[in-house]
C-alpha cells in the first residue's frame, strides 16, 4: 500500500532536485530505456530509512564526480508500482530489492547495486562504490 504522497514527496525531491528525471509510468520507463546509446543509471528509490536514507545522499555525492552516467532517472518503489514493475522487466534476471541502483551501458546492464550493497552503509561509502563504477564504465564510454 503506497505511503501518503506528502510523506514521500521530500524523498522524491532529494533526487529530482539533483536534476534526476523521475519516471512515474511504464511509458516513462520505456521511453528512458529506449535510448540505448552511452551510459545511463536508474535509482530505485524507496521509503526505507535503513537503506534509502543513505542511498539518496550517496547518489548526490557520487554525481559530483567528473565521470558519471549521461542520463539518470529514478523510480519510486511501493509508490509508482507500475513504473517499478516495468523498470524491473529490464533487469528481470535480478531478484527485486529496493532501493537499488542499475547502471547501463549501450542498453546493457553494466553494474548493479542491490539493496544489501546499500543498507547500513554511509552515503560516503555508497558514493565511493558508485564513483568506482562510474570511472570504470562512464569514463570508458566517453
Amino acid at each position: 500500500m503506497p505511503y501518503p504522497e506528502e510523506l514521500v514527496a521530500p524523498m522524491r525531491k532529494e533526487l529530482t532536485n539533483l536534476g534526476i528525471k523521475e519516471l512515474r509510468t511504464p511509458a516513462d520507463v520505456d521511453a528512458f530505456m529506449k535510448d540505448k546509446s552511452g551510459t545511463s543509471m536508474i535509482v530505485l528509490n524507496s521509503v526505507c530509512g535503513c537503506a534509502a536514507g543513505g542511498a539518496r545522499p550517496g547518489v548526490a555525492l557520487s554525481l559530483k564526480n567528473e565521470s558519471k552516467p549521461a542520463r539518470i532517472a529514478t523510480v519510486f518503489a511501493g509508490q509508482d508500482v507500475d513504473a517499478v514493475k516495468q523498470m524491473r522487466s529490464y533487469i528481470a534476471d535480478i531478484p527485486p530489492s529496493s532501493p537499488c541502483i542499475a547502471i547501463f551501458k549501450d542498453g546493457e546492464l553494466a553494474h548493479f547495486v542491490p539493496r544489501h550493497g546499500i543498507e547500513g552503509r554511509s552515503p560516503q561509502d555508497i558514493a565511493a562504490g558508485l564513483v568506482q563504477a562510474f570511472n570504470g564504465i562512464c569514463a570508458a564510454a566517453k
Partner: protein
C-alpha cells in the same frame, strides 16, 4: 542499524545470511533477533549441495544480486543458528564481520519440557525431540518428502478452540519455522493463538499421541484437544 525501530535488534532492516549447524542456510531481511529466534522477511533458503551448489557458493551468488524470496516471513529457532552475517559484507568483499546472536538463556537441562510463554512479539513454536522424530517418521511413511507440518486452530471443541495438526504444503502468507528434516507452517490467524506453544509427542502406558502445551490457553479441556484464551 535499526534506523526507525529502536525496539528491534541492531540488524533490523539489514539483509543477512543465517547459517545453521545443519545443511540449511537462509538469506533474508532481518526483522528481529533475540535469544529464541531469528525472524527474516522476504527470505530464501538453500540446502547444501542442492542444484550442485554448496552453502558457500549459494551465499556468494546471493551476495552478487540478492535472492528470490521463498518466504514472506521465516522464523528460525535460535538453537539451530550458528552464525548471522550481513550479506552486504559478503557483497563488498570486506572482512566478514560476524554478528553473533545473543546467547540463549541458560537452562538447567535440555529436557523437552514446555517453554515459558514468549512476550507479545515472540512467535516461537517449539517441537520436542519426540515430536520431531514422530513427524519425520510420519512424513517418511507418507512418502511425500516435500510435505511440512501445519499447526492451526479452528473454532469448536469443548473449550472453544480445537487444535489442527496435518501435513500440508506451504501456503502464501504462512509463517515457516524450519525444523530438522521438515518445516512447520502456521497461517496468520493460528499464529496468534499458537505463539509460544510446544508440541510434544508422548508415548507411554497411558496412551501415545501429540500433545500441545499452550501458554496462551487460560483453560484446557480434559482431553487436551481444545482450549480457550
Amino acid at each position: 542499524m535499526g534506523t526507525f525501530h529502536d525496539n528491534k535488534s541492531e540488524l533490523h532492516g539489514i539483509t543477512v545470511v543465517v547459517d545453521t549447524a545443519g545443511p540449511k542456510v537462509y538469506v533474508g531481511r532481518c526483522d528481529d533477533m533475540d535469544d529464541r529466534q531469528v525472524i527474516l522477511l522476504d527470505a530464501d533458503e538453500h540446502e547444501d549441495g542442492k542444484d550442485g551448489r554448496s552453502k558457500e557458493q549459494y551465499v556468494q551468488r546471493a551476495a552478487k544480486f540478492g535472492v528470490w524470496k521463498k518466504h514472506e516471513r521465516l522464523v528460525i529457532p535460535r538453537a539451530q543458528v550458528t552464525k548471522v552475517q550481513k550479506l552486504g559484507e559478503v557483497y563488498s568483499g570486506a572482512p566478514a564481520a560476524v554478528v553473533s546472536p545473543p546467547k540463549p538463556a541458560e537452562s538447567p537441562a535440555p529436557a523437552p519440557k514446555p517453554k515459558a510463554a514468549p512476550d507479545a512479539n515472540g512467535a516461537v513454536v517449539a517441537l520436542t525431540p519426540n515430536a520431531q522424530e514422530e513427524v519425520r517418521r510420519l512424513i517418511a511413511a507418507d512418502g511425500k518428502p516435500g510435505l511440512g507440518l501445519r499447526l492451526g486452530v479452528k473454532g469448536g471443541g469443548c473449550s472453544g478452540f480445537s487444535y489442527r495438526l496435518e501435513f500440508d504444503q506451504k501456503k502464501e502468507g504462512d509463517t515457516v519455522i524450519p525444523s530438522e528434516g521438515f518445516s512447520v507452517f502456521l497461517d496468520r490467524k493460528s499464529l496468534i493463538y499458537l505463539r509460544g506453544i510446544t508440541l510434544d509427542y508422548q508415548k507411554g502406558l497411558q496412551g501415545k499421541g501429540f500433545v500441545f502445551h499452550n501458554p496462551n490457553a487460560s483453560n484446557t479441556c480434559g482431553c487436551g484437544e481444545s482450549f480457550s484464551v
